[in-house]
């Protein structure tokens, strides 16, 4: 049986991962708009580039991951663990799919969003998936 201490630890880890998913595109490895790179419309207006939209989406995903961790800490029953695990699997997949397929990043190979932000999010996504998988596997 997974001990309560361990489950609380996993919950705290999910909260941390969620915070990191939020912070990575804005603070740790900022996307292009924080390097003052915007897409310029014909009218002259500046809008965020693809990576900016991915970053905004990741903010929401990160918040959900942190929430899942919080729920696990607050209420640790086998059913909660399994549900949080399943949702973590999905959220981890979203963390990876958002900047790769769903929204994407800049196409230029040497942009910071592609060389730094994207791999960092991929790593975080994989860790969230692994944590989710562990929770689903260790139901009791």
């Amino acid at each position: 049986m997974t001990s309560d201490k361990m489950v609380n630890g996993i919950g705290a880890l999910l909260v941390l991962l969620g915070i990191l998913v939020i912070l990575v595109p804005w603070v740790v490895f900022p996307v292009c708009e924080l390097h003052d790179s915007y897409a310029v419309l014909q009218s002259g207006a500046k809008i965020p580039m693809t990576c900016g939209w991915s970053a905004r989406a990741e903010t929401g995903i990160g918040a959900l991951i942190a929430l899942a961790g919080g729920i696990l800490i607050a209420r640790s029953t086998p059913e909660t663990r399994q549900t949080v695990g399943i949702f973590s699997l999905g959220l981890g997949a979203l963390t990876i799919l958002t900047p790769t397929y769903l929204i994407g990043m800049c196409k230029m190979a040497d942009h910071p969003c592609r060389v730094l932000t994207l791999p960092a999010l991929e790593i975080l996504g994989i860790i969230v998936i692994l944590v989710g998988g562990y929770l689903v596997w260790k139901r009791e």
Binding site: V40, C106, H111, L116
Partner: protein, 405 residues
């Protein structure tokens, strides 16, 4: 259901290790750093070398002849893809083709340009080739028979954004992507766009009207001559012959490029190998001290085992196995973490270090991982050896009596 279904030597080892989690975590961290840095250094060196080999192989050239004053620009183009434009005052192309040992010579024109998305412009090296004499793209075209390079058709390197069939704009001239090369890790190929001589001249002629900046390509001049040497001929020999016949030129060879890369990588690999050595030098005595402390704490337990019938070699084997197990676990963790970071951030590493880079072959990765594991395990065994031997020699009953009182 008893958890002791299979009790053996290794269960004793793992249970002993599980009993001191924090101290063992520290040891694992030390071994992770040793193995991780050692593995990373090998990974980087080999990745750079492999990329260079692949890229040069893709180019099909044994030597690249450039004007002497632009030799570093020529290397930079190849290694980093940082675009440049330069021309031979006197290209000497015909002379180069006649040098003994030269099997083929292909002239190329380098044009630095930008290409843009709506947001931003990135550097791209436009390389104009003579299709009749080229052997860089022609071999790729041979492998892809459905692709024909016609008017305004371009073949792009792997890192250029844009799907096959779409258009790119350079100096106001529209080009059509008909093919994409495979990744080499060599930026000079991956960030290049190949076009024909005549299309490049047309682009230059029209640039005065269509582009923000006029492009001038002096007629009859080229930027570089790629040379393929005859089989059995050493590139270095031919290179020396070329530079002696054309004194204003520099002949860049793969060996020369490798030295350049080694120089650039040198500081990084020195730091990595240095870290590995430094951590080892500090860790071995520390780990030996910890092993001695643990042996001292376990004197009673060891005495009990001896009293129950354990031989001295059993005790030594037990303690060495514990230490090597820790080392192995730490090394695995270090290698996995290093691999994840190197894999995920390989583009960043290549761009920052300005080196060509591609993922080493699985065989090489296994060798690098294996040697790092062996190094860590060896250190683990070495650190625990003396404490293990010393513990096995203590008289069992004295220790038990002292432990009992």
């Amino acid at each position: 259901m008893s958890r002791s279904n299979t009790f053996g030597f290794f269960r004793l080892v793992t249970q002993n290790l599980a009993n001191r989690p924090w101290r063992n975590l520290a040891a694992i961290a030390a071994f992770a750093i040793i193995a991780g840095t050692f593995f990373s250094a090998q990974y980087l060196m080999n990745g750079a070398r492999q990329s260079l080999d692949t890229g040069i192989d893709r180019m099909g050239a044994d030597i690249m002849v450039v004007p002497k004053e632009y030799s570093s620009a020529g290397e930079t183009v190849l290694l980093t893809g940082q675009p440049t434009s330069f021309f031979f005052q006197d290209s000497g192309f015909e002379q180069i083709a006649r040098v003994p040992g030269v099997a083929k010579a292909s002239p190329e024109i380098f044009i630095a340009t930008l290409y843009g998305q709506a947001c931003c412009a990135g550097p791209v090296q436009l390389i104009a080739i003579d299709p009749a004499r080229d052997f860089t793209i022609s071999s790729w075209l041979q492998d892809n028979p459905g692709v024909v390079m016609g008017k305004d058709d371009i073949i792009v390197g792997n890192s250029i954004a844009g799907d096959v069939g779409s258009n790119l704009l350079f100096y106001g001239h529209t080009f059509h992507i008909v093919g994409r090369l495979g990744r080499t890790g060599l930026m000079g190929v991956d960030m290049a766009v190949f076009t024909r001589f005549e299309d490049a001249y047309t682009m230059a002629d029209e640039s005065g009207v269509k582009a923000a900046r006029k492009l001038t390509i002096p007629p009859g001049m080229v930027s570089a001559v790629l040379v393929r040497v005859a089989p059995g001929t050493a590139p270095a020999t031919v290179a020396a012959e070329i530079t002696s016949e054309l004194p204003g030129t520099k002949a860049i060879t793969p060996g020369g490029l490798l030295s350049t890369i080694a120089g650039r990588l040198g500081s990084v690999t020195t730091m990595l190998y240095g870290s590995s050595i430094a951590v080892t030098a500090v860790s071995v005595p520390l780990l030996a001290l910890v092993a001695a402390m643990v042996a001292q704490e376990r004197k009673s337990e060891i005495a009990i085992l001896r009293s129950l019938g354990a031989t001295r070699s059993f005790i030594v084997r037990l303690m060495l196995t514990e230490s090597v197990t820790l080392a192995f676990a730490g090394a695995m963790a270090g290698i996995v973490v290093a691999s994840v970071i190197l894999l995920a951030f390989q583009d960043f590493i290549a761009l920052t270090l300005k080196i060509p880079f591609m993922i080493p072959s699985p065989a090489y990765i296994l060798v690098a991982a294996g040697s790092s594991l062996a190094l860590s395990s060896g250190i683990g065994g070495l650190a625990a050896l003396w404490p293990a031997i010393h513990s096995s020699r203590s008289e069992p009953y004295e220790t038990i009596r002292k432990g009992a009182s």
